[in-house]
Symmetry: C2
Subunit: 555 residues, 2 copies
Amino acid sequence: MAAATNGPSPGRLASVYSEVQTSRLHHALPLPSVLCSSFSLVDGPPSSATGNPDEIAKLFPSLFGQPSAALVPATEAAEVKPLKVGVVLSGGQAPGGHNVICGIFDFLQDRAKGSTVYGFKGGPAGLMKCKYVELNTDFVYPYRNQGGFDMICSGRDKIETPEQFKQAEDTANKLELDGLVVIGGDDSNTNACLIAEYFRAKNLKTRVIGCPKTIDGDLKCKEVPTSFGFDTACKIYSEMIGNVMTDARSSGKYYHFVRLMGRAASHITLECALQTHPNIALIGEEVAAKKQTLKSVTDYITDVICKRSELGYNYGVILIPEGLIDFIPEVQKLIAELNEILAHDTVDEAGVWKNKLELESKKLFEILPPSIQEQLMLERDPHGNVQVAKIETEKMLIDMVETELGKRKSEGKYKGNFIGQSHFLGEYEGRCGLPTNFDASYCYALGYGAGALLQFGKTGLISSVGNLAAPVAEWSVGGTALTSLMDVERRHGKFKPVIKKAMVELDGAPFKKFASLRDEWAIMNRYISPGPIQFIGSGSDAVNHTLLLELGVQA
Amino acid sequence: MAAATNGPSPGRLASVYSEVQTSRLHHALPLPSVLCSSFSLVDGPPSSATGNPDEIAKLFPSLFGQPSAALVPATEAAEVKPLKVGVVLSGGQAPGGHNVICGIFDFLQDRAKGSTVYGFKGGPAGLMKCKYVELNTDFVYPYRNQGGFDMICSGRDKIETPEQFKQAEDTANKLELDGLVVIGGDDSNTNACLIAEYFRAKNLKTRVIGCPKTIDGDLKCKEVPTSFGFDTACKIYSEMIGNVMTDARSSGKYYHFVRLMGRAASHITLECALQTHPNIALIGEEVAAKKQTLKSVTDYITDVICKRSELGYNYGVILIPEGLIDFIPEVQKLIAELNEILAHDTVDEAGVWKNKLELESKKLFEILPPSIQEQLMLERDPHGNVQVAKIETEKMLIDMVETELGKRKSEGKYKGNFIGQSHFLGEYEGRCGLPTNFDASYCYALGYGAGALLQFGKTGLISSVGNLAAPVAEWSVGGTALTSLMDVERRHGKFKPVIKKAMVELDGAPFKKFASLRDEWAIMNRYISPGPIQFIGSGSDAVNHTLLLELGVQA
């Protein structure tokens, strides 16, 4: 254990570091070769939008249609002038966030001497309130390759009202910002683009660049093959799944139902499935596409359990995305009806209120385990909506499978024994891990590249690092027009720009690979135990073996 | 990813291995230097028992008083004859079990050519039913340094009745066993000693050696400084705690209540606390010694939260041993009364039944959160006892702290915000991890040493590897009389031998170190994030930094 170097500021400098943390401080980060010598910027063709380009054009009159830009080697270095750059962390943590900031800082130190970097504290609120810390070498040092967002902390505020935009403008003017980098998810990058548009319209010199962050992996497009943090989080979860698989095989008597993060999309479940080969992995997007019912999902699991039992395996591992029941149409319908009833009617103990449900919803409600019925009735958010995220889907499925197996047993169709064990691999364990070598390098390149985009005066782009399945030296670096990722949604009678969450593509290579193997995984035991994340030696420099690599091949 | 080598048997040979698993297959294990050349065995003084030596002497007439034995370097190799040795895994998994078997196998291959090793399948039941697999190089290979117990699987049966002892005898005779190694926890080692005594009394040639296994770390004594699996499990849990700490510091708004394994003793909580420096860690043994009440535990937590709030920290991390409420005298009393009432009386909805509780128990019951009251009423084991282990202590404490903070807030004594987040770092995630370098080497030495003890004709000993805080070369190897670890308990009017679980010693160096630092940890943020287990490079060869090392210094 060694304390980090002393310096003028509090925070990590006062911390005690573990051996591994200390060794990570000294881990030298490779840069894509294009960032290692002189480069220039090449624009691509004009861009459009993901949907409703006319509306996006109206919402972003200055920025719409911007080309994407790519860094290419140049014989002469670009003109260097010092920049003043602000950086904001927005939303939930993801492993690698500190390295994005280090990348920006190092770019400016290396390539634009005399530059200043301001870290806005506590997310967008720091920008609005002009609360910041000026970064220097000693301050940044102890956060290199470390998890968390505590260098400047994050926040969930958004810059939405005219007053808030004015506040951001005032800060930009006061600090004479040449650039602002917003590190965040889909909402934060949408917000970054609105700020870019506003600053441009106001003729401010401040350019705005976004960076793709989310462990859920649902912020991506062709030019942004993944969001940072996804790799580390999936590897943390996959280690645990691998351990649980070893347990299943060793004790031979448990079915482990493992709920994973991913409310909107099932990328984490798919990636973890490809890394570990569970007997079953439910993919929300498929459940929705096939309009599966809770009964058909239950039957699918039960069928596998029965087949395995005949082969002598009364154990297994099943992966479930957190958002599963959101994908089941009949459950969505039931919840919508419940929201209405609970908002307007009194609920009688005898259950007469249930007659207000439509027949199919009533039937569905009645096959749910009592504990889940109770959760549906009790847990509501401030808007009176049922909090689907709080429902313990893995426990619900264990209950329902158990009931179905009991039925089949009494019919003589199942002779095995079933013990379900529930697991929830939570957000907090995954989002603050030490970043893998991949996330550490990827984030550093994202930050370094964001600095380069600002140097060339770009705005309204998201930092884009591609060709990620290749060695770091071969990674491409550039920026993608944020407006090109956008579509509109109609809210309160107005069009709002949104970066749509990227869902698991059922005709994409990763899902197709999973689908081609899952019947074998269901019956045979093809478990893989990835083990703990390694920082040197075997496995340490593996990009995701599967999902990213295959996406890379596809692209 | 590479498949393991092919061979004649199923099991792991059909598995797909991750890069890290494959690299672990090739990890060469160091041996203590005494095992690297010729050695002989030196007996110590006669032994006694931990308690009631007279009764232990009656229960183990052949074995009582045996000396412990230590391997020492010798100029000439001991006489070599081939041995037939059986091995049994007993009870729950712990990382490293496979390496104990590999150690036995390699010892016999290296030192007693022509030997045979039988792996009894599914634990003691395999011994009784003579269900076994004969181990060979190819069969053993894919399990080297791997987690789990699936090479031969484990079981929880005990050899207790005269018929069962006879079955074990028949197997020993049928296979002409010279030795039997029982790998297990306190109960399994007690059972091993009973079998050793029985075989000796029956003049069988079969010697019996135990090996200390349990992730809970509560099987240990002076000569057995730790049980295997404890190191790996604590490091897996500590990684997660470190991540949660980084999250607490980054988001600045959550109190994470983390429940850890350890029903009988709080070793895991203490070790994880020493590795990570949480704001609070509750140690069951201290709670019991101080006769703390649930209220006083709640107040202690609440006081720290209030103090931290005044310093501007509305976040923190609190570690809780699974068995906490078992250590609180008033809770034990309440549960005993509930067991009685629930067994004999009907429980009325109106709650009149509560008047059958003694006044203090009734008061305690009424301050419990409703969900916990419900769990106490509902969850009972087949004997009608409340299942304390199923109570979600971390959620209970969050509820109780929240209530107390609300009270203080209304009195103007607390101005902060409190959001509790519950975590349970479960058994399955910890007990089947890939063993650390420490557990891999320790287990290998335990197994190799067990082989040596059998070569010298020893029986009724537990394989003992000491001086563990030193480099592997300097570890001591020998055997400790199992009877010396024993005491008796009175059950059904008879004395039964038991190896008492080792509790956290409140006057031991590890607890004293913790106690001397915890006030600082409570208020300051001294979090350490150990990161994922590393197999090479920084941190990979660290024995536990704290607990074991200090015990080593003490010894």
